[in-house]
Amino acid sequence: MILNLKNIYKDYQQEKLVVPVLKDVSLTVDEGEYVAIMGPSGSGKTTLMNIIGCLDKPTSGEYELAGENVKRMKDRELSDLRLRTIGFVFQSFHLMPRQSAAENVALPLSYAGVRKKERKRRAVQALERVGLGDRVGFKPTQLSGGQKQRVAIARAMVNDPKILLADEPTGALDSKSGEQIMELFSRLNKEGVTIVMITHDPKIAANAKRIVHIIDGEIFEDGEAAD
């Protein structure tokens, strides 16, 4: 079990009003799973993703990531936990515009204290894994949207995280590039990578093996994806 969320509540304070965003969410994800968390906008799926990604803390409830209880961790420990266990993929890629693909991919390695030569080697390896072995020295501006997202995936994978956490990974892509990204996800999952993907698009969600529907901050349905 990699993810274990138990009775998670999350409230937001809006002026004097307390707005509940997540209500009693419990979810477990095992190693090697490929889960899509699906819901309309405002359903709380992004908040759930932030909590899973250790970017935000629940108001109440227990959360264990890779066997570690996140609740009482300090900021610095959370940084290290994110570095070691989570690979983030965002809708808008978030690449450093002035750095090459390889430098972008190597970024988390520098935080992990990997030596420069080794960083370069592993970055190139990660880029080859996502099919961009021939784009190592390219700047983000010289790459297409789909290629940028693959660079971002290589960056997420380069530190061998326990889980790949993707927030609308195809949201900024045309459908053909989106399909290629989904193919890449499926392949990575076959290679043993655990993937949690957040999307509002049922077609994209259908690529996952398991779909969790979330509506109004509650888990509405949790089941295997219909092929």
């Binding site: 932030n50 990604g53 970017l55 935000d56 900021d75 610095r76 940084s79 290290d80 994110r82 570095l83 070691r84 690979g87 983030f88 965002f90 978030h94 450093m96 002035r98 970024l107 988390p108 520098s110 935080y111 992990a112 960056r155 997420a156 530190n159």
Partner: protein, 417 residues
């Protein structure tokens, strides 16, 4: 660390115009400081060079009446001022860092010295002891110096320096010829000159008075034969050669103190005082350097203004790069890492400004030197301090923006447009 520095240069390079304008305050401040310091240093070194170069490790201790050197010509021989005995000279020779001591009497001559009908006006007549030429670093260029017998047998012999030889003989051979000092015939036996050829650099009227006052020429006679000319043995002055320029002030004060213990004048304003070229020059210098210190402070204010500019631009930079910061924090960069990145960037920016400022300052100093003939000397420690200080400014004014960056909430930062 090196990674951060490399990234900082990359960032500065990609915003050339903005970075340059940000650095401008630092550049101007540092350049002004370097230019001022170089000018001060240059003038100070000039003073030392003038003193050392002219062999003036010698400090004269003279009889003063109030603020002015005692004038034998008008006031006659003062009561209560004894001749300086040999034991006193020995006592002076025992002062630390004194190499040699000489006694002499002197008068400024208006109408005293003639060769045929050519007079020497504005010069001096010195009655010197046998140590005098050594102590003042003179060598005999032509003829001979004074001998034992010149003193013991009261020979009427004179030695000229080059200026008085020129004035009296206009290039003719002087040695062996006769001159008259107060109607007494004296035979010129030699011509002396400073052992080192040196022309002090004169930039100001003060320099002129400090270094150039003896230029009308001096006629030297043995102190023993002084009364033949002037009728009396007169109170002597002392000149002491020290081991180095730096000892002049100290030795001068100490020997004046010793000489004053033998005085019992009726006129209490009569005392021995050191006529210390170094001290005089320094006093002149202190006046201008206190003005310069003010200038340095004013230039310092421009550094603070520059620092605020850096802070401002760093805040802009943090806002611009909010998404980047958010991403870095999300994928596992610690706070300290972000803090370090922005602090490095601010420090690199201002250090670069400091380096450019030093270069501009050196150029500025050279231009000032060229235009006003003030000497400049570039001080390496000052340059290093200036760069280090500008780096400190970067760090101080970078702390707030960097702290702000490090504490951004990654969720909000990632969503920032």
């Amino acid at each position: 660390m090196f990674e951060n520095i490399r990234l900082s240069f990359q960032g500065i390079w990609s915003h050339k115009m903005r970075s340059f304008l940000t650095m401008l305050g630092i550049i101007i401040g540092i350049a002004a400081i370097i230019a001022i310091v170089s000018t001060i240093q240059g003038t100070n070194e000039q003073i030392k060079e003038n003193l050392v170069g002219s062999g003036e490790n010698a400090v004269e201790v003279l009889l003063f009446q109030g603020e002015w050197q005692y004038e034998m010509e008008y006031n006659g021989i003062p009561a209560g001022v004894p001749l300086i005995a040999d034991e006193v000279v020995e006592q002076l020779g025992d002062i630390p860092h004194v190499e040699s001591v000489a006694r002499y009497v002197s008068r400024s001559c208006y109408n005293d010295v003639y060769r045929l009908n050519t007079g020497l006006s504005g010069g001096y007549v010195y009655g010197v002891d046998q140590n005098y030429f050594d102590t003042c670093d003179y060598i005999v260029r032509e003829g001979r110096g004074f001998t034992e017998r010149d003193y013991s047998e009261y020979h009427k012999v004179a030695i000229l320096d080059e200026d008085s030889a020129d004035a009296l003989f206009q290039g003719e051979d002087a040695v062996g010829r006769t001159i008259e000092i107060r109607m007494e015939p004296y035979i010129v036996v030699g011509i002396v000159a400073k052992s080192r050829e040196f022309t002090p650099v004169i930039n100001t009227i003060d320099d002129y008075y400090t270094y150039a006052e003896n230029s009308a020429g001096v006629v030297y006679v043995p102190a023993a034969s002084w009364p033949i000319i002037y009728g009396y043995d007169e109170p002597q002055n002392v000149v002491l050669r020290t081991e180095g320029t730096d000892y002049m002030t100290e030795v001068g004060k100490e020997s004046a103190g010793i000489l004053n213990t033998y005085l019992s004048p009726q006129d209490e304003t009569i005392t021995y005082k050191a006529k210390d070229l170094l001290e005089q020059a320094q006093q002149i210098q202190e006046l201008s350097s206190s003005t310069n210190t003010m200038l340095i402070w004013i230039a310092g204010i421009s550094l603070i203004v520059g620092g605020i500019g850096v802070m401002n631009i760093m805040l802009v930079s943090v806002t611009e790069r909010t998404q980047e910061i958010g991403l870095k924090k999300a994928i596992g960069a610690r706070k300290s890492r972000i803090l370090g990145q922005f602090l490095t960037e601010a420090a690199v920016l201002t250090s670069l400004g400091g380096v450019i400022g030093v270069v501009v300052g050196i150029v500025l100093a050279e231009v000032i030197s060229y235009l006003s003939t003030t000497p400049v000397s570039i001080s390496i420690p000052a340059a290093v301090c200036a760069v280090a200080f500008s780096m400190v400014i970067g760090i101080v004014f970078g702390v707030f923006p960097s702290y702000k960056a490090a504490n951004l909430n990654p969720i909000d930062a990632l969503r920032h447009e």
